[in-house]
Amino acid sequence: MSDASNARPAAGRSLAIGLGLAVVGAVGTYVGLTAFTADDGWWKYAVVAVAIVFVYNGLQRACRAVFGPTFQFGLWLSIVWMGLIVSGAVFADLLPLAESRDVSKALLEPIDLRPNLFSRHPLGTDGQGLDILGGILYGGRVSLAIGVGAIVIGVAVGMLLGVSAGHYRGWLDRTISFVTDSMLAFPPLVFLLAVVAAFNPTIVTVTLALAVLAIPTYIRLARANTLVHAQREFVLAARALGERDRSIVWRELVPNVALPVASFSVLLVAAFIVAEASLSFLGLSVTRPNPTWGNMIAAAQDDFRTIPHGVFTPGAVLFMTVLALNRIGDAARLRWDPREAKV
C-alpha cells in the first residue's frame, strides 16, 4: 500500500519487483502442481497457496507501477478471466482439444490422468478417459448460455411488466404485485426442482425456469425505479406536451430505468450459473455425457477421495467464474445504480 505515494523513479523498481514476484510465484505454482505428483504431501498445497499469493501480489504491483496506484487489479483480473471463459466457450470447436463428450471415442485414452500442462490432456482426464479441459470449455458454453439467456428473458419481461405496473398503477399494478409476491413465495431451488420434474430437463427448459425465477425480482426493481422517475419533471413535461402513455413508457421511462435495473444482472448471472451447476450436480439438468461443470463434479464425486482433482478442477473454474462475475457485478452496480453510487 505504501508504494502508492512513491515518486515516479520508484515505478521502474516496483515494476521489476512485481514481475520478479510473479515469475517466482508462477514457477512455484507449476512446481507445486506437477513436480510432486508422486506423493500427496501436504506441503504441496502450502507451496501452491503461497505461490498463488506471490503471483497475485507481484502482478498487482507491476500493474500499479504501469497504470497508476488506483488501478483496480482484482476487477481487471476478473474481466480477463471472463474473457477467457467466454472465448473458450465460443471457440471450443476450433481448439485442438482431446475428446471430451463422446465416450466411445475416448475408449483408448488413459483414465484419471493427473493434470499435466504439457500433455494432450492439460487438466487431466476423468474416470471415462474424457478430457477435463474440453469438458470445462463445453460446460462453460452451457453455463453461459443458460445464465445469460435466462437474464435476457427475465430483464425483457420483468422490465416491461414492472414499468407498466409503476406507470399505470391501479388494478394492473395490484395484479402484477400479487402475482410477483406469490412467485417469490416459492423457495428458488424448490421451484426449480418442481419445474424440472414437470418438464424434461434440457437447456431450454432450465433457461426458461431460471427466467421465470428472475422475472419477479426485475418487476420489483423496475417498478420501484419507475415510481421514482414517474414523479420527475420530464415525465410531467412529456405529459403536458400531449405524449401518449405508450410513448411515455417507451421514450421516457424505459431508457431511464433500464440501466439501474440491468446493472443488477451481472450478479444474477453469477447466481444462475450456480443454480444451473447445482441442478446438473443433482442430475436434473443437462446430463452426461454432455459435460457441464455441475455434472462433471457429480461424476467425479465417487472417486473423490483418491482423485480429488476430478472434483476440484471444474470446481475451481466454477468458483473463479462466480467470483469474477460477483466482482464485476459489484463494480457495475457502483457505476450504474444511482442508489448504490450515492453511498
Binding site: 423457495p187 431451488l189 424448490v190 414437470a198 424434461n200 455441475g294 472434483v311
Partner: protein, 378 residues
C-alpha cells in the same frame, strides 16, 4: 400487535392458495402415467384402469385439485406411488425433522462465525485481520454449496489430521501477529507501566491460544455421510456428530453474507458521536464494540436472519444429497427421479408454506422491533 399479526396472516392466505394451485397443476403435468409408476410397465390394461380409478385419475382435474387441497389441509396427502406405498404424511413426518434440525443448527453456528469476524473487521477496517476476513467472506459467497460441502468433507473427513495441523499453523500466524501488535502498543506506555501491561495482555493471549489449540486437538472424527436420529439408542452426541458437518456447510454460506452486512453497519455506527464519547471516556475498544455498537448495528442483520431461515429450509437439498441425509431434499429429489407425483406435490407445497409463514413472521418481528413502521401499513 395482535392486529398486525392477524393482518399479516390473512395476507398470506391468498398467496398460499396461489402456491397450492401452481404446485398442483405444474406437477400434474409431469409426463408419464402415474398408474404405470405404481404397477410397472408390463401391467395389463384392466389393472391400470383399476389403479387409475383408485388414484382418482379418471375424474376432472379441477375436482381432483380441490380433493387434494381438502386432504392437504387436514394433513392427508394421499399415498406414495412407489412401494411400500406408505401415506405421504408418514414419509414427510420422517423427513421434515432432519431438515428442520439442520436449519436450526446452521442458524446457531452462523452467528458464532459471523459476529466475531464482523467485530474484528469493523474495529480496524482495512488492516490485516479485516482484509483476511473480508476476502474469505467474499470467496465463500462465490463457492456453490455442493462445492463447499465437498471441500468440507475433503478437509474434515478425508484429511482430518492435516486440517488440524493447518488450523494450528493459522493460529500460530495469528498469535505472532497479535504479539507484534502488543509489542507496538507497549511502546505507548511509560517504561514503568510497560511490564504489567505486557504481562497482562501476554497471559491473556497465551491462555486464549492454548484454549483454541485444545479445541482443535479434541476435534472429533466426523462421518462422511449418514444420519443418526435423535431418538436412536446412540443419543444426542452421535446425532450432533452426524449433523455437524452439513450444518457447518450451511452455516458458512449464511455467515459469509451476514458478516459483510454486519461489518458495513458496524463501521457506520462506529462513526457516530456516542461512540466517540465512549472512546473519549477511555472505554476499551472491545467493550465499545460489544456493548455500545453491536446492538444499534444489528438491524439489517435481523432482517436477513429471517430470509436466511427461509432459504435454509428450502436450500438444504444439495447438502442433504451430498451427506446422504434422509431429509426433505433427498425425499424430493428421489421422488422426482421416480416420478412419484403425490410426494413431490406435498413436499413442494409444505416447504413453500413454511417459507411463506417464516417470511410473514419476519415481517411481524420487524414491525415489533422497529416502532417506526409499526403504525404504518404492514
Amino acid at each position: 400487535m395482535w392486529k398486525v399479526i392477524g393482518l399479516k396472516l390473512a395476507k398470506t392466505i391468498p398467496v398460499m392458495f396461489v402456491v397450492s394451485l401452481a404446485t398442483f397443476f405444474l406437477l400434474d403435468a409431469i409426463p408419464g402415467d402415474p398408474a404405470v409408476t405404481v404397477a410397472g410397465a408390463n401391467a395389463d390394461p384392466a389393472m391400470l384402469a383399476e389403479i387409475r380409478a383408485e388414484l382418482g385419475l379418471d375424474r376432472p382435474l379441477v375436482e381432483r385439485y380441490f380433493d387434494w387441497l381438502g386432504g392437504a389441509v387436514q394433513g392427508d396427502f394421499g399415498r406414495q406411488l412407489l412401494d411400500p406405498r406408505l401415506p405421504v404424511s408418514t414419509v414427510v413426518r420422517a423427513a421434515l425433522p432432519v431438515t428442520l434440525q439442520l436449519s436450526v443448527m446452521a442458524m446457531i453456528i452462523a452467528p458464532l462465525l459471523a459476529i466475531p469476524a464482523a467485530m474484528v473487521s469493523a474495529s480496524r477496517p482495512g488492516e490485516g485481520p479485516d482484509r483476511v476476513a473480508s476476502t474469505t467472506a467474499f470467496a465463500v459467497i462465490a463457492i456453490p454449496s455442493f462445492l463447499l460441502a465437498l471441500l468440507v468433507i475433503h478437509m474434515f473427513v478425508f484429511n482430518h489430521g492435516l486440517t488440524q495441523w493447518a488450523l494450528i499453523a493459522l493460529l500460530a500466524v495469528g498469535v505472532v501477529y497479535l504479539a507484534d501488535r502488543l509489542r507496538r502498543a507497549a511502546r505507548r506506555y511509560p517504561p514503568g507501566a510497560r511490564g504489567p501491561f505486557v504481562a497482562r495482555r501476554g497471559v491473556a493471549l497465551a491462555v486464549g491460544a492454548a484454549v483454541v489449540v485444545g479445541l482443535i486437538w479434541v476435534l472429533p472424527d466426523f462421518p462422511r455421510q449418514g444420519w443418526v436420529r435423535l431418538t436412536s439408542d446412540d443419543g444426542l452426541a452421535e446425532n450432533l456428530r452426524s449433523a455437524f458437518l452439513p450444518a457447518l456447510t450451511l452455516a458458512a454460506m449464511e455467515a459469509a453474507v451476514w458478516m459483510r452486512i454486519l461489518r458495513g453497519d458496524l463501521i457506520t455506527t462506529l462513526q457516530e458521536d456516542f461512540i466517540l464519547a465512549a472512546r473519549a471516556k477511555g472505554m476499551p475498544r472491545w467493550r465499545i464494540l460489544t456493548f455500545d455498537a453491536l446492538r444499534p448495528s444489528s438491524f439489517s442483520l435481523i432482517t436477513v436472519l429471517g430470509v436466511s431461515l427461509g432459504r435454509l429450509i428450502g436450500g438444504t437439498v444439495i447438502v442433504e444429497q451430498i451427506f446422504n441425509l434422509p431429509g426433505m431434499g433427498t425425499l424430493m429429489v428421489r421422488s422426482i427421479r421416480a416420478k412419484d407425483v403425490p410426494v413431490v406435490q406435498s413436499a413442494v407445497l409444505l416447504i413453500a408454506v413454511i417459507y411463506v409463514l417464516v417470511n410473514a413472521a419476519v415481517d411481524v418481528a420487524y414491525a415489533y422491533l422497529d416502532p417506526r413502521i409499526r403504525r404504518g401499513r404492514v
